[in-house]
Symmetry: C2
C-alpha cells in the first residue's frame, strides 16, 4: 500500500510530517508487521544559496543510504535498536554530516565525538563523550550498553574500552575534511567561540557550520522503540566539552510507553531543559501526543534562547520531525518501502 503523507506547517516555523492514512490507528491485524525508521542529519542546514544541485543530490543520497540500512534490519524482522545503530553508522561514515568522519573540530583542531543509544523496551542505554579516533561512536555507545557494567564513558577510558572491544580505530587525519577545517579557521579568526556563553535572552540561530548532529529513531515489528544520536559537537568547542547528544534524557531518549526521540541543536540549552525526557513525561503525565510533546519542549528551549530540532516516533508509528530554522536533513521509511527524504520545507 502506497501511503499518502500530508505535511502540516504549524506555528513557529516547525514542519510536521504525519502519515495521514491511519498512523495513529493502524488497521487490526496489520499491527505486528508495521515498522518505521526516521533519521536526521542535523538541524543546521546549508543556506539555499550555498546548496548546489550536485551537493543536494549527495545529501539526499546519503540520507537514503542511511534509511536503507535501517530498513533492511527492520524488514528482516530485526530489532529497532539494531536499525538505529545501522542507520547512524552510515551517516557517521559520510563526510557530509557532523558525526564520525565529517565531525566538526574543537578549538584545538581535534575531533572529539559524543554519542548515545537507548532501548525503549528495557530502558537500557549506552553513551560516550568526547571520544577520539573511534570510527563509529554509535557502535561504541552500543558496546558500552551491552558489554560494560556502565552506561556512560568518556575520553581516554572510552578509547581504551573501544580498543579492547576490537572496534575500528582511525588515525586522526581520517576525520579531516577541508570544509570543516576551513570553517574552524574562519571561526577562530572571528573569535566567535571565545566569549562567555550567550546570555539567557540572546537568540541562537542554527548555523550550518557550528551545529549538526545525526540521529535515528525506530519502531520495529514487535512494537519496540529505540533511539540514537551521534555528533562531533559544536564547532570550536573547548577541548573536553560534552554536549547533549550523549546525555540520556537530553539528546536521546526511548521508552516503549511513550516515544523514541533524538534531538539536534544547541546542546547547552538541551541539557538544562533535559529535553527528551521532558517530552516523554509530557506524554506520560499530561497525555500529550508525540507531536504536541516535542513541540512543547522545543518551545521551552526557545524561551531560553536556544533552538532544537528533533525526530521522534511513538508506539503507534506516528513520526514527527519538527525543526527550527531553515530546514533539517531528514527522512523516514515505513514497512511499505516508500522513502521520504527532505532538507528544506517542502
Amino acid at each position: 500500500m502506497r501511503r499518502v503523507f500530508s505535511m502540516v506547517l504549524v506555528g513557529m516555523g516547525f514542519l510536521t510530517l504525519a502519515a495521514s492514512s491511519g498512523a495513529e490507528s493502524p488497521a487490526p491485524g496489520d499491527s505486528e508487521r508495521r515498522f518505521v525508521i526516521a533519521i536526521h542529519g542535523g538541524g543546521g542546514v546549508r543556506p539555499r544559496d550555498e546548496m548546489t544541485p550536485e551537493l543536494e543530490a549527495s545529501y539526499r543520497a546519503a540520507l537514503r543510504r542511511s534509511l536503507e540500512a535501517g530498513y533492511e534490519v527492520l524488514a528482516g524482522g530485526g530489532d529497532s535498536i539494531d536499525a538505529v545503530e545501522a542507520a547512524i553508522r552510515v551517516m557517521e561514515d559520510s563526510p557530509f554530516f557532523n558525526a564520525g568522519k565529517g565531525s566538526s573540530f574543537n578549538r584545538e583542531g581535534i575531533v572529539q565525538m559524543d554519542a548515545s543509544i537507548m532501548d525503549g523496551r528495557t530502558l537500557d542505554a549506552g553513551a560516550v563523550g568526547v571520544v577520539q579516533r573511534v570510527r563509529n561512536p554509535i557502535t561504541l555507545a552500543r558496546r558500552i550498553m551491552d558489554s560494560s557494567p556502565h552506561v556512560m564513558m568518556a575520553d581516554q577510558g572510552a578509547l581504551e574500552f573501544a580498543k579492547a572491544q576490537g572496534l575500528t580505530i582511525e588515525a586522526p587525519h581520517y576525520f579531516y575534511t577541508e570544509r570543516k577545517w576551513e570553517s574552524l579557521q574562519r571561526r577562530l579568526r572571528q573569535g566567535t567561540e571565545y566569549g562567555k556563553r550567550p546570555s539567557k535572552t540572546a537568540r541562537i540561530t542554527p548555523d550550518s557550520h557550528a551545529f549538526g548532529t545525526v540521529g535515528a529513531v525506530a519502531l520495529d515489528a514487535r512494537g519496540n522503540l529505540a533511539a540514537g544520536t551521534s555528533t562531533g559537537g559544536r564547532e570550536g568547542k573547548l577541548h573536553g566539552r560534552i554536549g547533549d547528544s550523549p546525555i540520556i534524557g537530553a539528546g536521546t531518549y526511548a521508552n516503549n510507553a511513550t516515544l523514541a526521540v533524538s534531538s539536534t541543536g544547541l546542546g547547552e540549552h538541551v541539557i538544562r531543559v533535559v529535553a527528551t525526557k521532558t517530552m516523554s513525561d509530557l506524554m506520560q503525565y499530561e497525555g500529550m501526543s508525540v507531536d504536541e510533546a516535542t513541540r512543547a519542549v522545543i518551545g521551552q528551549v526557545a524561551e531560553m534562547g536556544g533552538s532544537i530540532s528533533v525526530v521522534a516516533v511513538d508506539q503507534d508509528g506516528s513520526v514527527t520531525m519538527p525543526y527550527s530554522g531553515d530546514g533539517m536533513y531528514r527522512g523516514f521509511v515505513r514497512e511499505d518501502g516508500v522513502y521520504e527524504v527532505r532538507i528544506y520545507e517542502e
Copy 2:
C-alpha cells in the same frame, strides 16, 4: 524559634524528615527570611558493627562543618548556589566521604571524579565528568557554568580548563586514603567489578565501599533553589566511566518551580530513569509534593533493581531525605541555626 522536627517512617524503609511547624505554609511576613540547607554524604553507610563511637563522632563533625559552611553563606544573605558549593567543598576536603580527597579508586587505581551544580532560578548548570587531580570538582563545575560557554566537560579538557581557571590542582597521592585503597584491593581479589552489568532483575544493595556521593540542596532567603553533587564514583569502575552525578536531570536538578535535589546510589540506574528531572516533572505535571515525587522515583529505580537515596527541598522549605538501605550520612539546618545530623534511622 526552636523548631520541632517529626520523623515519619514510611514504607520501604525510607525515612522522611519534615518540619512539623509550618514548613509547608510559612507565616506571612516571615517568608523572606526563611532559608535551609540540607546535605548528604552518601547512602552507603558503614555497617553499625564497623562504626566505633570515635568514627561516628568524626562523621558527625564533618557533616556539621559542611552544614556550617552553607549556613554561613545563607545567614549572610548569600545565594543558595554559593551555599551548596561551600557545603560540598567541606565534604570534598574530608577523607570520610567518596568525593574529592576521599574518593574511591577506579580499577586502574586512579581517582576520576564527577560533579555538577545547578541554579534553580536560571536553570543554569555546570558539570564535570572523570576529572583527575582537581581538589574541588564542585568548584570546577561552578566555573564551567559561570566562565565557559558550556555546561559539561570531561577528563583532560576539564583538567586543562581547571588549570586555566587557577583552581587548586593536587598531585595524585593527595587522593590516597588507606581505607579506599584496601577496599579496592579486596574488590579486585574478589573480582566483583569485572562481570557484566547486573541483570535488570538483580537487586543491588548499597555498599559502604562501592558507592557514596556527597550532595547539597538549599533554599535561600530570596526563595531561590540550588543543588549540587560530587563523587569519586563507583569503586572499581572502568577508567573513563561517568556516573549519574554529573548528569543534569539524573544526579542533580534544581528548578525554582519545583525542587532542588541531589541523589546518591547506583548511577547506572539513575541515568536510565533520568531520576531527578522525573521528580521535578511529577511535581510540575502531577501535582505531587516533594516527598511524594522523590519517593515515587526511588520506587521506579527500585523496580529496575537499583537503589538511590536523595536529599531534596522545595520552595516552601520542605526538606525530604528518603533513603534505601541502612542509613544515609545527612543533615540540615534552617534559619534558626538548629543543626540536625543523622546517620542511621534515628
